[in-house]
Symmetry: C3
Subunit: 494 residues, 3 copies
């Protein structure tokens, strides 16, 4: 008997309870076809500008995907055997990408139950039209089919961008970026579709290798001297204005903790001056970085950029991996964080300011109900970011809604944010989040806690309206599905 | 087509799995009509004594409800525009309560998925007979209907008390309360229905503004001088006896942490003496407060008052809100707590004493399975309090049973405790807890882990018997649904 | 009407959703009859060697079960009244075991919803053929029936071992064990079925009472002098080799924290020398113990023993219980742990070594998704141990899969590990885990996230193959359900 063709089931990731599934199907139908709003991600703007082809299947789907590589490594395969190039290429690594693909396909079973499996299935079937499941037997045939597909013009990045119905996509950019690729895209009519995000981590941690080089590069880009803390702050502010001019709506901050304690100007100046001379210790680095979060909030009040905070990850847990391959190779491990105390100085200073907006992310789920939902359910500036990284998964997203909604509601969350570097996985991720939210909403309807009409409106808001509002791409006034008038608006309208 | 009348579905908040729902319906039926036992709350005893009318709809349902106000504030409305009076009223605030109500009604969507929505629906429909959902369009009509209803004599507080079938309700009272309103109620035959609770936080934190005034007031009420730690302890004990005489069954303690480390008498005396002269620092305040928890336990062994501990909240996270409006305006944010170490000195000293009882609450869900269930499942004095504050919600209560029951069972929990300051929400809250418990029990029955008869007996115990037993309103011996004889009783009975 | 006979429902603990239940039944059928792999437990090897009868019902099922005793104590019964012998027997304790049994039976309701109830039901019905539920009325009849059953030859431990279809069972043994009983079993042909585990906690904490005696005993057993840290390390290594020779596959470490920071040889030597003279403080004890975890990993790289780490329990929370009855009487309470930082030194040094394997356990559920799944999903040496102690329960196991699978997959988990000291509960525990895993897998199938064939293969792996692989009882190469070839194997095969 022939194996049945591999396909995606229309009800996948919806609840299985018969009543909930029926309702969820209809709710999902209302959001499934909405444009994709991708307000936070790590897609290479240059690739969009050049409209690159994606290379071979391993280059596209295996080698750069640290979720996927880490899983294979966790089961005994070596990073270099998966095609990942060591910092010193002479150390040797697999350059036969067909072999890399085969190693992945043979170990397909390891991904059971993971979002990597779910996304990959969506990409292979839906985006690339593969009809066979990866396995040792099918590896070569799939590799050949994928290779042929990727060579076709309609599989270039801008064509997929259109096919995926992406309305807007934010990239992540260093402060010293010249933003020329964004300018080129704008000249090409793509300015509203691809926008930059200001990501200053590299200049905020003076204890890190490379900090001084980053400061020099920032000075060069800004065309000013950076000789002290004051001129540093001025340069940061100027670059932020340059990003605003290039269409940026947000900044992004990946910090070890959620600490936002400001330093006195003299303490900040002292650490800055010391760091210009020689590396400072980790404690000083952390104190300076915390201070810069506070200063970033102050600047956001002025220039309107939405802050995004991603704390709580111990980067490069394995020295050996970091030394061999550099950062971001799957050995970043979360730690417990304390948002209530950490974010207190910042919110106490700016949290009630109507000009300020901050989106808080976590990969420590314990802070959802204990800290983040209470904060987002009180401070008007706070929105709760979508589940991130390891939590961007069916169960992770379901738990997020369960743990957050009762205290913060739906409208204090950011709506879906994909945070990916894998372009062809974007539709899978957005589709999955719409399914999970539809399931959660269906449960509320089935339990008679929400009407069906409210649920569909909410589903549309979570998928589409809320990300636009959270990042100030749209004003609350522009959409029906937003809070009604503020008293100020109300008075003005009388 | 006419909009269907707004109504409560009889199956709301029950599980949607067909088998579970059918069982849950029957279990719920067994507990639905039981009297309400409300052993911990914040209802104003004076209002009951005077049998006050409730004022207008905003005064009853919006302005004093910090759950509700915080949600509107989190979406950009200002606290003062919701009718909340600033400490300095000259700063201005909304006095048009119809406008306040309208702001709430227009933003009804923000409450989707929250317990505020659930409770409000129950109150409006069930208690007040409203048949339309709040919205901009319906706001005025509902306001008018509510106003008319609230003016009717059968909507005064004592009439609702009877209608709600409240068997007993505990208020929360400061140590310097003269308890005269409780005495008046007792004289009126309501002594067994409304009882006081001793809440000494104000005199336990010597670092707080107002502490000295509280001590003076305590001395005045007690008719003794408080000149040192020793006379302070004596006054505390005497006031506790006065509360016992007035019918109190419990004390209540809202602390920043769960620390219960005793101080030496000389250290306690030193802090107390210093604090009488000038404010002490937060560390000394916390140490003294921890010591007073330990001392409170010692006193409880003597006078039989059940301790309630509510730790883990950082009060007044926003200085601006606290300075403008005072405490308790929605900006209290939970923090992680350590019960295992914090409560250790207290339990190690008194935890096995059969005269002692302590009920532990948390809003840090992570301690449920890790710390509280193991503690409650070992120490005979410990009961695990019902989900509190942000966790008094459908999901919060469901997770509580999931995380606690397997280690502590049902009979080491307190049964439902509502902790509300919103009188007309009491039936909604108790009804909801009975539904959630019925759902959890139905799952156990449907999974063949419990018989149906056991489940209904347990449902009755959770709603009615256990709160009475936990607060020693009733002896274990008085009910069938309690532990069988202790060996001591057994021997005595031979 | 006659009461229906007490029996186990074939669908117990399976999901109740109709679609999930049907799938779960079939998945469960594929794993239900597999042999039991019991790689971590606390069964007395001597009892197996002697093929002991189990004594009376209270001796078998009540007195040694600290889960059960703690629950009764938590509701006011006294430990001594449950037949537990105090360290000073003159203090008095119940010696009438029928009375002990009766106290348990009368309080059967306290166990509703707990795994103790579930396991006991399985044991009484399935293992011993009891047809009535425990109660005051049935207590004596059940006691008599159990007593008669336990006296029958087919209820001796080796006969039950066969009946239970246990393929291999690990005991837990002190470093100074002479392993003679294991040798006797081996001589009897049972060597492959009962294997020792090296458990060195007693010699790793130099601050604990009894440490010096343990060191002396270790020296005696090893036939060497232990005069300093160096000779201590040598003795540890030699005993490990003796365990390997006796068939051991693993070591086990029950530590207060997950700290694995190594000491310099001179610091370790200093603490060791001091401890030989007089007790050291808790901080030095903890530092030495952390160092010994690091050293144990180093030794594991050499001798191949799989490390097991069980951290995060504050032992003997009640001094009174510990002083009266000794350790392990139900007053061990979990604490929050920090795996990301604690395990960092050890994994950074050995985590990528293909010769190394460590299995990480927790009873702090908050580290599942935040720390353990990310660690297990990256380091090839790490496997995530099954839910342990309070978490070895239907809900605990379900949450484990929910929180772990999306990041670590199934194949970085250990498969089921029972950790019991109650021999007759072993089948109940393994059966329950197979049901819960079947339920989780059925949900994935019902949500179209996994095929049915994948699910049944995974169920078999979780119940049988993975425990064998995790503990290196079997090579990956020996089973179809394991990762495919490593590139090294692949090259070798060309």
């Amino acid at each position: 008997m022939a194996k049945p063709t591999w396909r995606l089931h229309p009800d996948r990731a919806l609840p299985t309870d018969p009543l909930q599934r029926e309702i969820a199907r209809e709710i999902y139908a209302s959001s499934a076809e909405l444009p994709i709003i991708s307000m936070h991600g790590h897609i290479d703007v240059g690739a969009i500008d050049r409209n690159d082809a994606f290379g071979d299947p391993a280059e596209l789907l295996i080698i750069p995907d640290h979720y996927l590589v880490r899983m294979l490594v966790s089961q005994g395969l070596r990073t270099e055997d998966l095609g990942v190039r060591p910092l010193d290429p002479a150390a040797g690594y697999e350059t036969d990408h067909r072999a890399v693909w085969r190693r992945f396909a043979e170990n397909w079973k390891l991904f059971r139950g993971t979002p990597t499996r779910y996304w990959m299935e969506h990409e292979l079937v839906e985006v690339f039209g593969i009809t066979e499941e990866p396995s040792a037997a099918s590896a070569d045939a799939i590799y050949d089919q994928l290779s042929a597909t990727l060579a076709r013009p309609e599989f270039r990045i801008r064509e997929l961008f259109n096919r995926f119905n992406i309305e807007v996509l934010s990239t992540t950019d260093a402060p010293d970026s010249d933003l020329s690729e964004h300018a080129a895209l704008a000249a090409d009519g793509w300015g509203a579709r691809v926008i930059p995000t200001f990501r200053p981590d590299g200049i905020f941690y003076p204890d890190r290798a490379g900090w001084r080089a980053s400061i020099r590069s920032l000075a060069t880009r800004n065309g000013t001297d950076i000789t002290d803390y004051r001129s540093f702050l001025a340069a940061v502010q100027e670059r932020r204005f340059a990003f605003v001019a290039a269409g940026a709506l947000a900044t992004d901050h990946g910090h070890l903790s959620a600490d936002t304690t400001p330093l006195s100007a003299s303490d900040a100046e002292r650490i800055f001056a010391e760091a210009l001379q020689c590396p400072v210790d980790a404690a000083k680095g952390a104190a300076f970085a915390a201070n810069m979060l506070f200063e970033s909030a102050r600047m956001s009040v002025e220039d309107g950029l939405v802050m995004q905070l991603h704390p709580g990850v111990q980067r490069d847990h394995s020295d050996e991996i970091a030394q061999t391959f550099g950062p971001d190779h799957g050995f970043d491990i979360p730690r417990a964080i304390d948002y209530t105390r950490g974010i207190h100085p910042l919110l106490n200073a700016f949290g009630l300011d109507p000009r300020f907006r901050i989106i808080l992310f976590t990969i420590d789920e314990t802070v959802y109900s204990r800290e983040l939902a209470p904060l987002a359910g009180a401070y008007p500036s706070v929105r709760l970011g979508a589940p991130w990284w390891f939590l961007d998964s069916p169960g992770g997203m379901a738990r997020f809604r369960e743990l957050v909604t009762e205290t913060a509601g739906f409208y204090n969350t950011s709506g879906f944010v994909d945070d990916t570097r894998a372009f062809t996985s974007i539709p899978a991720r957005h589709d999955l989040s719409r399914r999970i939210d539809a399931g959660y909403l269906a449960k509320l309807v089935a339990e008679h806690r929400l009407s069906f009409d409210e649920a569909t409106e909410t589903a549309i808001d979570l998928a589409y309206t809320l990300p636009l509002l959270a990042y100030k791409r749209r004003d609350a006034g522009e959409t029906a599905s937003t809070p009604a008038q503020t008293p100020q608006q109300e008075r003005a309208a009388r």
